[in-house]
Point group: C5
Chain length 352, copies 5
Amino acid sequence: MAKLIKERSRKAGLPPGALVHIGEKKTEQIKITILEYDEMHFREQEAKTIEECFPSKDKSRPTVAWINIDGIHRSDILGKLGECFGLHPLIVEDIMNTDQRPKIEDFDEYNYIVLKMLHLDGEIVSEQVSLILGSNFVLSFLEGDGDVFRVIRDRIRTNKGRIRKMGADYLAYCLLDAIVDNYFIILETLGEKIESLEDELVRNPNPRVLRAIYHLKRNMILLRRSVWPLRELIGGMERGESLLIQDTTRIYLRDIYDHTIHIIDTLETFREMVAGMLEIYLSSISYKLNAVIKVLTMIATIFMPLTFIAGIYGMNFKYMPELEWRWGYPMVLLIMAAVGIVMVFYFKRKKW
Amino acid sequence: MAKLIKERSRKAGLPPGALVHIGEKKTEQIKITILEYDEMHFREQEAKTIEECFPSKDKSRPTVAWINIDGIHRSDILGKLGECFGLHPLIVEDIMNTDQRPKIEDFDEYNYIVLKMLHLDGEIVSEQVSLILGSNFVLSFLEGDGDVFRVIRDRIRTNKGRIRKMGADYLAYCLLDAIVDNYFIILETLGEKIESLEDELVRNPNPRVLRAIYHLKRNMILLRRSVWPLRELIGGMERGESLLIQDTTRIYLRDIYDHTIHIIDTLETFREMVAGMLEIYLSSISYKLNAVIKVLTMIATIFMPLTFIAGIYGMNFKYMPELEWRWGYPMVLLIMAAVGIVMVFYFKRKKW
Amino acid sequence: MAKLIKERSRKAGLPPGALVHIGEKKTEQIKITILEYDEMHFREQEAKTIEECFPSKDKSRPTVAWINIDGIHRSDILGKLGECFGLHPLIVEDIMNTDQRPKIEDFDEYNYIVLKMLHLDGEIVSEQVSLILGSNFVLSFLEGDGDVFRVIRDRIRTNKGRIRKMGADYLAYCLLDAIVDNYFIILETLGEKIESLEDELVRNPNPRVLRAIYHLKRNMILLRRSVWPLRELIGGMERGESLLIQDTTRIYLRDIYDHTIHIIDTLETFREMVAGMLEIYLSSISYKLNAVIKVLTMIATIFMPLTFIAGIYGMNFKYMPELEWRWGYPMVLLIMAAVGIVMVFYFKRKKW
Amino acid sequence: MAKLIKERSRKAGLPPGALVHIGEKKTEQIKITILEYDEMHFREQEAKTIEECFPSKDKSRPTVAWINIDGIHRSDILGKLGECFGLHPLIVEDIMNTDQRPKIEDFDEYNYIVLKMLHLDGEIVSEQVSLILGSNFVLSFLEGDGDVFRVIRDRIRTNKGRIRKMGADYLAYCLLDAIVDNYFIILETLGEKIESLEDELVRNPNPRVLRAIYHLKRNMILLRRSVWPLRELIGGMERGESLLIQDTTRIYLRDIYDHTIHIIDTLETFREMVAGMLEIYLSSISYKLNAVIKVLTMIATIFMPLTFIAGIYGMNFKYMPELEWRWGYPMVLLIMAAVGIVMVFYFKRKKW
Amino acid sequence: MAKLIKERSRKAGLPPGALVHIGEKKTEQIKITILEYDEMHFREQEAKTIEECFPSKDKSRPTVAWINIDGIHRSDILGKLGECFGLHPLIVEDIMNTDQRPKIEDFDEYNYIVLKMLHLDGEIVSEQVSLILGSNFVLSFLEGDGDVFRVIRDRIRTNKGRIRKMGADYLAYCLLDAIVDNYFIILETLGEKIESLEDELVRNPNPRVLRAIYHLKRNMILLRRSVWPLRELIGGMERGESLLIQDTTRIYLRDIYDHTIHIIDTLETFREMVAGMLEIYLSSISYKLNAVIKVLTMIATIFMPLTFIAGIYGMNFKYMPELEWRWGYPMVLLIMAAVGIVMVFYFKRKKW
């Protein structure tokens, strides 16, 4: 099961801006990829040293530079990068701390965006993505390897869609869009699980179902923590006054914003559904208990009086006239049958 | 049961604005109907090709054009239409994606409105309706065939009411009104189901009732997802600053707005009712369990001591003086009767 | 039990402004009463035809006119009246539709106020009241006969209080005040029911109590639907900018506004109380179940071993030495007594 | 238990401003005390007739006048007082109606403040306090005798603190502060009750605890009704624009405002605690039920097979070879012991 | 367990501004430490008398002074200090009252900040910290000894980070940051407890788990009371217009603000988790009950009929033909076996 909280405590006491990696290391080697493009040009390069990225900062270049960094555990590399691109020390600290709440911070020179990328790997796995949007560059920081951005890289390479015609803000939008699209896949999977559990709940409520419900609920609580702040984040970008985002891009941001609302709506719907399932589970269990107890009561109510009657004529008194009667035994059998039938009819009439 | 979520995942990775139909195809053939009217004129035409609609775009015409498209799965046709009427690619994408949250988007040239039309067909069936409101035209997009708009078409044909005297915004209002009116029918059906379940709940709580309650709840959760955003949507239109909506129409929009609030109120009332029913179900089951257990306890408490007494005198000891007594047997019978009567009185007094 | 929803569906498909009565007809004959008064003059008249009301519309008259219409099912009469007093068709439609949510609509020439009048008749009975407040007239529309307004009519006739000195807005306030005062009576009755149920709940939780709680809850849910919008309504009047309401009247409206808040507060308090009662009910039932099961367990635990011992010596083996012993029988009886006593002590110590 | 609602219905139908006392009469005689003071002067007087208060109204006096009225059931006296001090008839009506929601009303000449004073007398007892704050006078109205204000009276008499140096607004603040301070005492008592119930809940959940929890909950629901509006009230005074309150006093009001928030916070914390206790109660009861049922099942599972075996050899068939065996009896006893031991081990292994 | 509320009642009746210590005395001796520093200079001194702090107030000094007071129960010392630094009497009163809700108060000359410092000592222990931020000084008041601030003192001594280059506002930020960092440690501990309880809940639900859940819940309710107001507090500082806080410091405050939101988010997530655990507990108990009852019912249903049959042939009637049959006994044994097997198959088929 996903961990509830990351170990942040070892940072307590350090001065603000201290660069400490919080989270588990998902990749050994840091991999830096540089893409530079405009409508006509395209250059792709894997950087050996961080210094190779520095020229991309130059504002006078007409191209858009996208520098993608896979792996965020090396404070020396990130420190240098931050210094070169003029990032506030607190921002570099935040990039290295994977226990961040999704948010956007708006500086004059750049915007800092941090959010969670989710994918399914049996469990829901959450990875933190940080974006720095400058006037003509985008820095993206991933914990592991950035497979999710491959489609966008392909789109740039092949000049598909309008991405090569637009600026860095549109690139940032595309990255966000790719991340948010993944949330729908998670939701679909959750939706299917809920539907299959609904069936099983009606057919056969058992502790396995209960555990599955609890597991679903837990996942949705954690999911919610990633999704709700997203709304603010993207809403803030769309309505914001940052000069880094152009009006033509804003309409696309409104589209992701709608997606986010849609995701939140669906998640809340799911939550209500799961809450309802738990109530149904409890009610079903209670009903089943009733049914079982009724069987027990019927059996006891029928056989206890019969056994008692048999017990009476099993007594060894010397003077028990019935025992001597010729038809004593059949008579008692008849009486027993009568008692049994009366009981059964009684239960029938009470509609047990 | 209605599906919780539509398969949106196959869009993940495509560039924004890519036209992919999401949802199930409800009609094979796309059917395009054009109505043009003003107070004096009326023309109705079924278009063979999408190109026949293009003249309606002309702003200089004095008539109002209503183009209704049944079927939204053909990206080529919708793409051409969008281009001709100057729709943003994201809007055409949204029209083809039936997993939209109800919303309004306000462009200078047109308003895009998307909402859910509900009708009953055993289950609650939801169909997505998109409207494009221009200065003198309305485009309406339906998933299946647009039977719900027949009354409005008739009203235009027969020049009933004020519809022919008013502009495109009033036509859009009429379409919205027809859709929202259908919600009341759904609510009435739900209300009747709740009332009949209330009766059955009191008479005979059983798992069928429980399943019916859950089913109701599920429907209401899904319904809610369609209804709540409607409020924003229509409230936005009424208060909005769009120049496409005239003040004389705004008062009608306020009327639908009130309807929407009324629908939400009623839905929330129903939700509380259903929540209450579940509690009553659980309480009733618990009470019944109590009653059954009491019967069992009474039977056991009466017959166990009696059977024990019979067991004692069924023992085969050689020296049991009571067995030899002349009145031993009747005496024991009397004792048993006494024990039984005492028990019954005891339960009477404890008011079982 | 009160109906959850009114049959509104037969209006679906009609053009907006179509006059259709929705609700049950509570009176056969429409009765129209006209009162005209100022500080010096007073005239009361029962109108035979609707046309007799039309002169009251004249704005130059110094008197205040109050036209009360009992019965709202005649679309011809209300249509004529609406036309004469310049009411918007949607307003007349709303007056005839008794399934309205309380609201106020502010037109230049008049205000339209619709709310629910509640009275107790075994059940809580709800009746819709519509008021049209003009500059020097008030129209009031009731479903049945307007007994609730008799005290105000008397006050006008006898010139009691300041009503004859004030304008039409004060008259409207008086009518609202009379309606809101009735809500307190409902609340008092509910409060008494809750208190008596609290007693019974502690003494003897049974399904009758459960049903009563559910009934209370249902009533409060329905009541809430009438009361919450009232707050907005009267708050809107008080703070509103309508020129029809004078400042001297506004302070009185603030008084009703406080009453409304007080009613809502009390209702919410009641709702919490009733929710608490349901929990107590469930807990009590569970506790009682425990008590009964304990009795059963004690009986079984005492008598099952005893019966087993008796069973052993009821076996017919040839070679059972104990059976031949002189003191075998009393010994076994002693053993049984010992087992029984040990069991009883065991339960005592476990504090059953 | 405290009543849920006061009998307000007898006012229904009366014109607004009619002076009717609502609530129970807590004192027979009305007692009027006048204090007049400034930094140098101090005069205390018990007024025989209401007319003796009238001179205090004079605005040209440099002193602050505090008129305290114990007992609010005499409409003649309050009517005269209201007239003299220029109170709006609705205000005097409100003072006499003890079923008020705490509120402040801001008139030009005076502020009207009404709130609840709580003290413990076994139960929580609520008393309504009305304050009229004028430019140089404060009128305070109590239902019973005003013991709670004695400390303030002493402080004025002995010229302790800064009260004699400040104006009427500071006096009003002191009265409010004294009332709000009492709420903390109530909270402390509730807190102690919750803590002692928590202990008992763990040790021995029984219906007495359940009733105590319900009683606590009820008290807190009622308490909440008095406390929540207080926040608005004092917040309104602090931020308000009333010229009657000076800036030096505002900082003291901010202090009470903080206290009110603190009280609300604590109350909400308590409410959550009590809600949690109810859940624990139910869970404990359920667990206990399980334990009891397990005992029953074990006893039945062990002794039923044994009794059955004994029953078999108690049958009277002529040809039962085992009965003739020399070691038949001990063998059967051994078998029985084996069955019993197997059962016990079975339960052990299942960890019952 | 932590106390729910502190004894505040003994203050009731005292004039506002009266200095009374509320809370438990955590240290005997008051310890006063003075640090004065700027980029070049550093002076540390333990003050014997309170008067030694007074020079630090001098605004013309270029250094920043941090006066830390451990122990707040001496009203004479705090009174003098307050007078010298120009604190409002209500502020000094608040510093001595450890039952404060976290808040900030903004005066022209200084800001007063009060919040809770939490650390784990088996239980969550809460200590109140008050800060006074002036233009070039910070006063910090702790209940016990200020070990939590040691790291900051070290950072100042060793001139690590940028603390010596910045003003008093940055020092205040550092103190707040150190306090808020501790909250994460608490959250981690809670998170681990939740995870270990989740495991145990699935494996073996028992009352110990229930008590642990309740204990967790209680802790989180109390924690919440400290955390929620923190958000307002720091949000207020960040957005506030206080001239005491410089823009370069504001960005650091935004960082703590994000931390606070993150803490609140996590806490709410935990609360939902714990609520879910309680439901799972109840459901598990119910399911177990069902399982046990099923065993009981099976045993009873199998053995009661068998015992009854044995009872029949244990009767002593003279004329019972079966008893004489040669194969009577084996036949009855066969019948019994058949009945038993049928029962077992019946339960198998019903999937018990």
